[in-house]
């Protein structure tokens, strides 16, 4: 009787040791080498370098998130970025923190060139070097490189920089997501039109 109990215990212990070892080996052998988390977070941020989050750029914010800061401080990224971050970090998505600004349409800076006095202040402010110009000469924005961060607007002494919303382009256009309501609405409005 006692021996059978002992055998059972021994077998169970043996199995436990065996599977424990197997699991441990597998964990080592098939360990997934991920990117450092900061890199992954940084890759999700929109790289406007606008500093609206309170950090001097996207990378510093990525570092802050990695060490526990909230993920909802990035207005240019908006909901999409928050969701992507929540997904990556496996946390609940939160609404955008209004303290850091509201999400808005994509914009670019445009310099009203005849008003520019060539002070170079905006050039120094631009986080991505997207403004061209030299002292006492007119400056201009390289639109394709502008991230729409707003940082050049404030320093301009003559207020000649406008933030212009990017207009939808025929070549970049694509169909919207269909919404059942939208379809029903078409029908409803047409019915009205027909009876009127």
């Amino acid at each position: 009787m006692l021996t059978s109990v002992l055998i059972a215990v021994a077998v169970l212990l043996g199995l436990a040791a065996l599977f424990g070892g197997l699991l441990g080996y597998a964990a080592e052998r098939f360990r997934v080498e991920g990117n450092p988390i900061v890199e992954q977070i940084d890759a999700l941020l929109p790289q406007t370098q606008c500093g609206q989050c309170g950090y001097p750029g996207c990378r510093p914010y990525a570092e802050a998130i990695a060490s526990g800061d909230a993920i909802n401080k990035c207005p240019p990224g908006g909901e999409a970025t928050i969701h992507a971050l929540a997904d990556l970090l496996d946390v609940e998505p939160q609404p955008l923190d209004a303290e850091h600004g509201a999400a808005q349409a994509k914009r670019v800076a445009v310099i009203r060139e005849d008003e520019c006095i060539g002070c170079t202040k905006c050039i120094q402010a631009c986080p991505v070097d997207a403004i061209l110009g030299a002292a006492k000469h007119m400056h201009t924005v390289i639109e394709s490189e502008c991230t729409g961060c707003d940082l050049c607007v404030e320093p301009c002494p003559v207020d000649c920089i406008d933030m212009v919303e990017i207009q939808p382009d025929i070549r970049g256009w694509h169909w919207d997501k269909p919404t059942p309501a939208q379809r029903l609405q078409i029908i409803a409005s047409d019915r009205q039109g027909a009876t009127a």
Binding site: W173, W175, K177
Partner: protein
């Protein structure tokens, strides 16, 4: 008999082709104005070559291809260019694009053409060039520039050339009528393509619902090696991938073009356009467009000039706009709706359907997907449309991509069979568009990140440079001090150290690329001596020459002048070198060094004074101590001033070289002024009386400093100008 293979899925929607095949092809006529979009094809828009007011002839090039993938555009008739402007074009978005507007003059005068009776006389490259400048694009609907397509990758050999006459979409009969009426020209066009590509097999694929066209083509290919292959009617057998599978049993691998597997598909209309371009020298300025739909009184096929407004064209077929509910460009399966008929016909406009509400009822409300799988049965690409729908709706785009969303050809078979009326194709288009947008955003943000990081690195580098400069200056000062303290060392070492220090001071602006080492003073002196000697010699020679041989005088004079200049230069160099390498024959303390010491002493004194003031009001016990300390410091300051004066006097008397250079002085002056401004500001802001007093003292001191600096600058300026 060539075997015909099968592809998965497919549907059999009502054909509705007979409405538009009862009449032969008619000419649509010349409208009041033609609107020719710069982009009617895949790739880059054409570059306009005309300006408003210019008169052009029929077939004249008005826009040339721009970049590799692009197509030329031509004037469809003779007339005057009215404008180049943004106008609504036939696009699902309903947006505008750049268009050239042409007012026809009604004469329809051709520009000179260059027909080629026998294309075999031409080089292949020459033929391709002609196709390119004829503006020919795929007329089946894709609009891909034909010339690019006919240039297969170098390592690929096109074994099978397929002419696509399947025209599987309901309603459309443009290719059908073309094959019935112009089979001969189509076959000639295919021969030209075959001449360019040298394939082993030439096939024309055609659906079995077009018996007249089959008969006409069979007759036309007699005596050639082209085969007409009849495929069963099933939508979308006219899709390039499906037709290739039907005729050759080859699947075009994902991410490849047919040429990669030795096959090429061209539309029958394209073949005709190639024939006309080569044989008659006529660019692509018109096409056959099917006009059909229940809202038309006289549906049929029209030979239409590119740029003809849809409104004008539909009127030729007796349109009833009141009955029109949906206006479709293209077929009912893949076409898109036009919200207005005020858009032009372009090279890819194969069909226009003016449909009534009964013909294409408005879509029923979307019901839940029951995963019935009808869509998967119908999908010609063997996808799982119901899964793709699920992912697209939930915006799980990565999963959609994993389920091969990008293999979807948007044929609409899934949405056609869907019992829940789900607009599946729109979901896929939305998902694809979003993913493309995300990709573009990612690329842009990557670039922004790079630029940001580059800028950060640059700023850091500049900071480091500044730091290095500051450090070097401090080091040099320390060295000079050490030198002063040490016992006399041998002169050469001292000189070396001095030169080093000067170098450090002068050269630190660009530490990685040091300025050319300053020539040392002795060397300069030697050079100067040499130059003077030479000058003397020259002078001598000149004098001699003047006396004996007048011929050489001029030359020598020139040489003397040159040498004088050289001497002058050497002198200047020497003077420039002097302030840098302050010689220390008497071991004189460096001026700046002394100045620094003096400043330090003064600063300390000021501090003491302040402490003393504080102590007087708060802590009488310490007053005495402080008074003593102040006295000591005053003495030190006085000493330092004296030393400086002594040092300055000989330095000033020795040469003018010790005068600090202008920019430095200006810099100092600016700095002093700045500080003064800050002080004054602080003074204005201050309200506590003792603070005011202190600040007043500081301001006064600073004013003095500014005045001094100004004076120094003036002096330096005057010496500079006098020199």
């Amino acid at each position: 008999m060539r075997p015909v293979y099968a592809f998965h899925g497919g549907i059999h929607p009502p054909e509705n082709k007979q409405q538009s095949t009862s009449q032969p092809i008619r000419f649509a006529g010349l409208p009041q104005r033609l609107i020719i979009p710069l982009q009617q094809h895949a790739g880059a828009p054409a570059q306009p070559l005309v300006s408003p007011g210019q008169h052009v002839l029929k077939g004249e090039l008005i826009g040339e291809p721009q970049g590799k993938i692009s197509a030329a555009i031509h004037a469809p008739t003779s007339g005057t260019i009215d404008s180049i402007a943004l106008l609504p074009v036939a696009h699902p978005s309903g947006m505008s694009d750049w268009c050239i507007t042409l007012i026809p003059d009604g004469k329809d005068t051709w520009a000179p053409r260059h027909p080629v009776a026998d294309f075999r006389q031409l080089e292949r490259e020459e033929l391709l060039e002609r196709v390119r400048y004829a503006g020919i694009v795929g007329l089946g609907g894709g609009g891909f520039p034909t010339e690019i397509k006919l240039h297969p990758p170098l390592h690929d050999n096109v074994e099978t050339l397929i002419l696509n006459g399947a025209e599987c979409e309901p309603y459309i009969t443009a290719d059908d009528m073309l094959m019935r009426e112009r089979a001969e020209e189509i076959v000639r066009g295919m021969e030209i393509m075959a001449f360019i590509l040298r394939p082993q097999t030439c096939l024309i694929g055609i659906e079995d619902n077009k018996p007249e066209a089959i008969t006409a083509l069979r007759k036309a290919v007699e005596g050639t090696r082209i085969e007409v292959v009849v495929v069963p009617t099933k939508y979308p057998s006219g899709g390039e991938k499906q037709l290739v599978k039907l005729l050759t049993d080859i699947e075009i691998p994902h991410g490849h073009i047919p040429a990669d597997v030795g096959v090429m598909c061209q539309n029958v209309g394209t073949a005709l356009a190639v024939y006309r371009a080569i044989r008659h020298g006529e660019p692509l300025i018109s096409r056959i467009t099917t006009l059909t739909g229940d809202a038309l009184a006289e549906p049929g096929n029209f030979e239409t000039l590119i740029g003809t407004p849809v409104r004008y064209l539909l009127e030729q077929a007796g349109v009833d706009y009141g009955a029109t509910r949906r206006l479709i460009k293209g077929g009912p399966m893949m076409g898109f709706t036009l919200e207005t008929p005020d858009v032009p016909v372009v090279k890819t406009t194969n069909c226009l359907i003016a449909a009534t509400a009964e013909e294409f009822p408005d879509p029923a409300p979307e019901q839940p997907c029951i995963r019935c799988g009808q869509c998967a049965e119908a999908c010609p690409m063997d996808l799982l449309p119901q899964q793709l729908f699920w992912f697209a709706r939930a915006q799980e785009f990565d999963k959609a991509e994993h389920f091969n969303l990008f293999d979807c050809i948007e044929c609409g078979a899934c949405a056609y069979v869907c019992p829940s009326s789900i607009p599946l194709v729109q979901y896929y288009r939305y998902a694809k568009g979003e993913m493309r947008e995300q990709l573009a955003d990612t690329l842009k943000s990557d670039r922004a990140r790079q630029r940001f990081e580059a800028r950060q690195a640059r700023l850091e580098r500049e900071q480091a440079e500044k730091e290095a400069k500051r450090k070097a200056r401090a080091e040099a000062a320390a060295k000079a001090q050490a030198e002063k303290a040490s016992t006399p060392v041998d002169e050469r070492a001292a000189k070396a150290a001095a030169v080093q220090a000067a170098l450090a001071r002068k050269g630190m602006t660009t530490p990685e690329a040091p300025a050319p080492a300053l020539p040392d003073r002795a060397e300069l002196q030697a050079q100067l001596d040499k130059a003077q000697e030479k000058l003397a010699k020259m002078q001598q020679a000149l004098d001699d020459a003047r006396n004996s041989n007048s011929d050489q005088v001029e030359k020598l004079e020139r040489a003397v002048a040159k040498n004088q200049e050289r001497v002058l230069q050497a002198e200047q160099a020497l003077q420039a070198a002097k302030p840098a390498a302050t010689p220390a024959p008497e071991r004189q303390p460096d001026l700046t060094e002394l100045q620094a010491q003096l400043d330090k002493a003064r600063e300390k004194l000021a501090k003491m004074q302040q402490a003393l003031d504080d102590a007087r009001s708060n802590n009488p016990a310490q007053v005495e101590k402080l008074e003593r300390a102040v006295a000591k410091n005053q003495e030190r300051v006085a000493n330092a001033e004296a030393a400086l004066n002594i040092a300055q006097a000989p330095a000033a008397s020795a040469t003018a070289a010790e005068v600090p250079d202008l920019p430095t002085l200006r810099d100092q002056l600016d700095k002093a002024r700045n500080k003064l401004a800050i002080m004054e500001q602080a003074l204005a802001d201050a309200d506590a009386p003792e603070q005011v007093e202190k600040l007043q003292r500081a301001v006064a001191k600073n004013r003095e400093r500014v005045a001094l600096a100004e004076q120094a600058l003036e002096q330096a300026k005057s010496t500079a100008t006098s020199e």
